[in-house]
């Protein structure tokens, strides 16, 4: 149980996908203009992270690895994740339309995002078991959501503040993103203090 908690919290805070690993930066900068779209995107990311981990972990450990085909993971993973999201989208459209309309455009957008692929490959590299991988996926998704929501709050503030002309728009967004990232480094000791 303790290991699970460590994996969950370190994925959310210490090894935050966006702010520490710098994965999934395009949605981080692209849809963080207001909290509503940031939340929509985050739900889609959590959702896709969980289903893609659930399918890629067994695929790697039972099909690719025993046949010495570990080098094919990137190709196979992208292929599998992309088609899986496609299927889930159809499934949701038919059976749970409210969820489909709330995830909306974000679901296909996130399909082959680097955060998703990064998560599945990290699960393999870290040697996580299936349950650990799933917990890691949930943690990574929540961490993504945390970063996105925090950042959207900052960006709405940025829109109202006077920024020097050469820094307006993306530059100031990137600067503030790196400041949050530095702040997140402060969590490094937290996990050790809590669980160490």
């Amino acid at each position: 149980m303790r290991e699970f908690l460590i994996i969950l919290f370190s994925a959310i805070l210490v090894n935050n996908f966006v702010l520490t690993r710098f994965l999934g930066l395009c949605p981080f900068l692209g849809v963080s203009k207001n909290i509503k779209t940031a939340l929509g995107m985050s739900y889609a990311v959590i959702f896709v992270m969980i289903i893609s981990t659930a399918i890629t972990w067994p695929l790697f450990n039972y099909i690719l690895y025993p046949r010495d085909l570990a080098y094919m993971q990137t190709v196979i993973f992208i292929l599998v994740i992309a088609s899986l999201v496609q299927i889930t989208e159809m499934f949701l459209k038919k059976l749970i339309p409210p969820l489909y309309s709330s995830l909306g455009i974000f679901l296909p957008l996130i399909t082959t995002n680097c955060a998703i692929l990064g998560l599945t490959i990290l699960n393999i590299d870290e040697g996580y078991s299936f349950v650990e991988s799933m917990i890691h996926a949930v943690g990574a998704g929540i961490g993504f959501m945390l970063a996105l929501v925090l950042f959207s709050g900052i960006r709405t503030k940025l829109e109202h503040s006077e920024v020097p002309r050469m820094m307006q728009g993306l530059p100031i967004a990137l600067v503030s993103a790196s400041l949050i990232a530095i702040a997140f480094y402060g969590f490094k000791d937290l996990i050790e203090q809590l669980f160490g």
Binding site: L59, I63, L64, R67, L69, M72, V75, I76, L79, V80, S83, L84, Q86, I87, M90, F91, K93, K94, L95, H160, S161
Partner: protein
């Protein structure tokens, strides 16, 4: 022998990965094909047409979360009322009714109206505000810098929210160009002072352009054009269209006959005649001087003079 090794190597190194990769791809393709069949959702042609008739800005003024929701409610018979879209107006309503074979609804056009005309000239500033240029932010700081804490802050949150460019800021308050306003209600939601209301679009509408609930003396001190609750209009109105909400007169637009008697008795000039129009328009108050406070007696004379000129024209 070399042939055999070569064959084994060939199979191990090339054929197997290709087969596994290809197999997974093929499998996924087949599954998607099956899924597309099983989870096929037919697109309703009628729905498509209904959505096309609606304006498609998803403002939510109809009470549904967007144009598509309203269209599906109409389509499924959940509502029989084709006149719920204030943005599309009478045209959209009759088009929808025609398409669905419903009765044509009575459609009264509406417009948003700012219930404050305490401009820079009528109010003063309690302090210098140099923070974020946003009504909501200023409102959070001691209810904003204006002397009247009920009044328009003039930072233009509503103007930013308006998708039709119907709101313009002048003399420190918001004005709504009623010719462009579609009564979608987006500005109503953004105003932190709750000053904007949707009223029937009578170009000659009479409104008490004030929302303050202070006693008269305090109002007087902070705004020269605010409603002081003297009840003059309340007593004058013959149609019971004016009611007193505490120290504030409110005109019921449904009962109002637009006779204009209240305008003449209002000592502060709070009651306003007419809806706003764009600054470039001929009827704009800036050119007629209507929105600036004028002593009622002088204004009465002006009005009489104007009436006389109209009579002469006739």
């Amino acid at each position: 022998m070399t042939d055999l090794i070569f064959t084994v190597l060939f199979i191990e190194a090339f054929l197997l990965p290709a087969l596994i990769g290809g197999g997974i791809a093929l499998g996924m393709g087949v599954i998607i094909m099956i899924a597309a069949r099983v989870f096929f959702v037919p697109v309703d042609e009628k729905m498509k047409n209904l959505v096309n008739i609606l304006p498609g800005i998803n403002c939510g003024a109809c009470g549904y979360s967007g144009c598509e929701e309203y269209a599906s409610a109409l389509n499924s018979g959940e509502t029989q009322d084709a006149g719920k879209c204030p943005v599309g107006g009478a045209d959209t309503a009759s088009e929808l009714a025609e398409f669905l074979g419903l009765e044509k609804p009575d459609f009264t056009p509406q417009a948003a109206h700012v219930f404050c005309h305490g401009t820079l000239y009528h109010t003063s500033k309690r302090f210098d505000y140099s923070g974020t240029v946003s009504c909501e932010a200023a409102h959070g700081l001691f209810s904003g810098p204006n002397s009247c804490t009920y009044g328009c802050l003039g930072f233009g949150d509503c103007a930013q929210a308006c998708p039709y460019d119907a709101i313009y800021m002048a003399d420190g308050i918001a004005h709504i160009d009623s010719t462009r306003c579609t009564a979608c209600g987006l500005c109503v939601k953004t105003c932190p002072k709750l000053l904007i209301e949707i009223i029937p679009k009578h170009l000659n509408a009479y409104t008490v352009k004030c929302k303050n609930k202070w006693p008269g003396a305090q109002t007087r001190k902070n705004c020269s054009i605010g409603c002081i609750g003297c009840r003059m209009c309340f007593k004058t109105c013959r149609f019971e269209a004016i009611s007193m909400d505490g120290p504030l007169a409110v005109i019921d637009q449904e009962k109002c006959t637009r006779c204009g008697e209240c305008l003449d008795v209002c000592p502060t000039g709070t009651i306003h005649n007419g809806l706003m129009v764009a600054p470039d328009s001929e009827n704009h108050p800036r050119s007629t001087g209507l929105h600036l406070w004028v002593d009622p007696k002088i204004r009465k004379k002006q009005a009489e003079a104007q009436n006389n000129t109209f009579k002469q024209d006739e």
